[in-house]
């Protein structure tokens, strides 16, 4: 409605202006009167806004400047120009609003992963309620085509789910009873019954929306520069305009007064910095939005900006470059049976949250009997010391054996070439070792290559594994530098050391899966947490969260960052360039008010349209 009235006003003014120009009455009263009639439909609103804002103490706003410019034009007798400038200013404003609306809609669409309802089973009934009314532990039913509203575990049904809204991955994933599902994914084929494990506020979808929406409150350097610039730009242009109107005519002894006033009025038309103030944040938001569609959540414009300056990428090995799933490859007992060795090791390691423990338990296949375990002591970087069946069991690496003076190791470094050996000793006697191996992720090698192609100077891998294992993996993946046999606490020190080798102004990125990583994630210029929303501490500490577990997304994120910055720079240079040129031309008398209107609203519209390109990362990111 509002827009329709604006269009009506503009059309009316335009028609009256046309009539006035064609008719061109010579009468000294009739002439201003008809132009005034043409001016009022478009101008009255602006004049009123300006008057009200002055009463509120707001002087240098767009309305006021346009009012002064057009009234000034009237006073020096440039009637057609005065009307035309106002008409085109309003047309431009209309375009600008349209472009802003459209951008806001695209952003809203991007955020359209919020589920509207949940079908919850209560008693024999299935009720449709708002997702935030569902309690943890309740069962929800999701039909094909519906969005899964809350995080949970499938208790019944098989289906394919589309996770593309969260991860950017277009191949549907299969889920069945016992599997975990995240909110925001779309159920494609079968009916699923899901036991809710997280409330709506803690569910993935709410957390993603929260992250992306809050990302705007952390502003980039470019945005801060523009805000500061805008604060000085308008007063500076207005002051210049005043000087322009007053000084040259005084110097020239009062001649060509009208001419200089006209030039000053053109200045006023160009004095709003709106093009920049809108398009720069819009570019960053587009970049962040586009990245989130690829499953890359960036927590602030400042981080998106910083990513482009990445020089060193440091990876945690396990869970980041490798699958983090260790499988028992070989059991080599010494004096005991294979089954005994595995059983002892599985019990000793059962309280550890290290992935090795999980793989031992998996290979053991039976339940762990906690009553057989006495005390357990974790020795970081070495292994565990535990009491099992009354015996003191040591399970860990060669360093652990050496530390406790256990001799008789049958395997040493050769085994560790491919995987990790868990040596086991009972009451100081060596019982053999279990070899466990972890595979690099499918895209790990491509990820390193993509980073090199994107101009990253150095890739570094950190691992707690033996140096031979580390070196072998690094070699396979093409990583420049590797630090092995690290304790969790060493990681921060290594990163500090790497900071020293960094060029000034460039950035160091650390990527980890979030287990034991929080301090390093926080210390790095940009911390990237891999593998979705697993660890709360990691998400808190990380600046970028990658929803999938693909390390190749790091290079994608850097590319999106570079592209966004390019668009932002284009806009800054284009807007300032056009404004600067038109200001110069106006000062020297070559630019008319028409050029001024173009430099104001025309530039805004073009810059906004350019910024919207930042949003489109879907196809581009794969073929950068």
């Amino acid at each position: 409605m509002h827009q329709k009235r604006q269009i009506l006003c503009i059309t009316l003014s335009f028609a009256l202006l046309g009539t006035a120009v064609i008719w061109n009455p010579g009468n000294y009263l009739l002439r201003p009167a008809i132009y005034l009639a043409a001016f009022l439909p478009v101008g009255l609103n602006i004049l009123m806004k300006a008057a009200r804002n002055i009463l509120h103490g707001q002087v240098f706003d767009e309305n006021f400047l346009m009012s002064v410019a057009t009234i000034g034009a009237f006073l020096i007798g440039e009637y057609p120009e005065a009307v035309a400038v106002m008409v085109f200013y309003r047309v431009g404003e209309l375009f600008e609003n349209y472009a802003v609306d459209k951008s806001r809609k695209s952003i809203a669409e991007l955020m359209d992963i919020r589920p509207d309802y949940a079908n919850v089973r209560r008693g024999d009934e299935i009720l449709t309620v708002s997702p935030d009314e569902v309690q943890i532990g309740e069962h929800i039913v999701v039909k094909p085509g519906e969005k899964i509203p809350l995080d949970g575990m499938v208790t019944d049904g098989n289906s394919m789910v589309d996770t593309s809204a969260l991860t950017g991955e277009s191949v549907p994933r299969e889920v069945s009873a016992g599997g975990e599902v995240l909110s925001g994914v779309i159920n494609l084929s079968g009916v699923l019954t899901i036991k809710v494990t997280k409330g709506f506020e803690e569910s993935t979808v709410s957390r993603i929306l929260d992250l992306v929406e809050n990302s705007l409150s952390k502003k980039s350097r470019s945005e801060n520069f523009i805000t500061r610039f805008a604060r000085y730009y308008t007063p500076a242009v207005v002051c210049t305009a005043v000087l322009l109107a007053v000084i040259p005519p005084l110097v020239a002894g009062g001649r060509a007064f009208g001419e200089w006033i006209y030039r000053a009025l053109v200045f006023l038309v160009i004095s709003c910095p709106c093009a920049l103030v809108i398009s720069v944040p819009l570019g960053f938001f587009g970049g962040i939005g586009g990245a989130s569609r690829q499953g890359i959540l960036v927590k602030g414009s400042n981080y998106l900006e910083a990513l482009a300056g990445t020089e060193i990428v440091v990876f945690d090995k396990t869970g980041t470059l490798t699958k983090g799933v260790f499988d028992v490859q070989e059991i080599v007992p010494s004096g005991v049976s294979e089954a005994e060795l595995l059983e002892t090791a599985a019990h000793a390691e059962s309280f550890s949250n290290h992935p090795i423990s999980a793989s031992l338990k998996k290979a053991y296949g039976k339940d762990i009997d906690n009553s057989r375990i006495g005390y357990v002591e974790e020795i970081p970087g070495h292994g565990v010391k535990a009491e099992v069946d009354g015996k003191t069991i040591l399970a860990g690496n060669a360093k652990l054996m050496d530390k406790f003076g256990v001799s008789g190791r049958t395997a040493d470094t050769d085994v560790e070439l491919d995987g990790t050996a868990v040596h086991v000793a009972a009451d100081g006697h060596y019982n053999g070792y279990i070899r466990i191996a972890d595979e690099p992720k499918k895209d790990a090698k491509a990820a390193i290559k993509a980073l090199k192609d994107a101009g990253i100077r150095q890739t570094v891998m950190l691992t707690g594994d033996a140096s031979r294992v580390g070196a072998a993996v690094a070699d396979r993946l093409g990583i420049d530098k590797v630090y092995s046999e690290l304790l969790p606490a060493d990681k921060v020190n290594i990163v500090e050391e790497l900071f020293l080798g960094k060029s000034p102004g460039r950035k160091l990125v650390y990527a980890g899966d979030g287990i034991n990583d929080a301090p390093v994630l926080a210390r790095a210029d940009i911390g990237i947490a891999m593998g979705g929303l697993g660890s709360d501490a990691a998400i808190e500490a990380a600046d970028v969260v990658i929803m999938t577990d693909e390390p190749s997304k790091i290079a994608d994120a850097i590319k999106i960052s570079k592209r966004t910055l390019r668009i932002v720079k284009e806009n800054i240079i284009f807007s300032l360039g056009v404004k600067g040129i038109v200001l110069l031309l106006a000062a020297t008398g070559f630019a008319s008010m028409w050029a001024g209107v173009f430099a104001d609203v025309g530039v805004s519209v073009i810059a906004i349209m350019n910024s919207m390109r930042a949003l489109r990362t879907d196809k581009k990111s794969k073929s950068f």
Binding site: E213, L216, S217
Partner: protein, 71 residues
């Protein structure tokens, strides 16, 4: 404490920037940001001063853009 408001009718990007600058200067505000795109105002401030800050922000918003309502 952190509070988020929607600025209905926020029509001018430069005004959004002015509001942000003005709200940031209020006593007790740790961080404030106005996003012209999502039309959201986020204020992070000391708990005991929050109510007063919200009132002051309302006045600032009204002063800079009379049609704009803070919700």
């Amino acid at each position: 404490m952190k509070k988020t408001f929607v600025l209905e009718g926020l029509g001018c990007a430069n005004c959004a920037a002015k509001m942000e600058t003005a709200i940031k200067k209020l006593d007790g505000v740790r961080h404030a940001s106005v996003s012209f795109l999502t039309t959201k105002l986020v204020i992070e401030a000391d708990d005991d001063k929050m109510d007063r800050i919200v009132e002051a922000s309302r006045a600032i918003v009204r002063k800079i853009e009379p049609y704009c309502v803070m919700k």
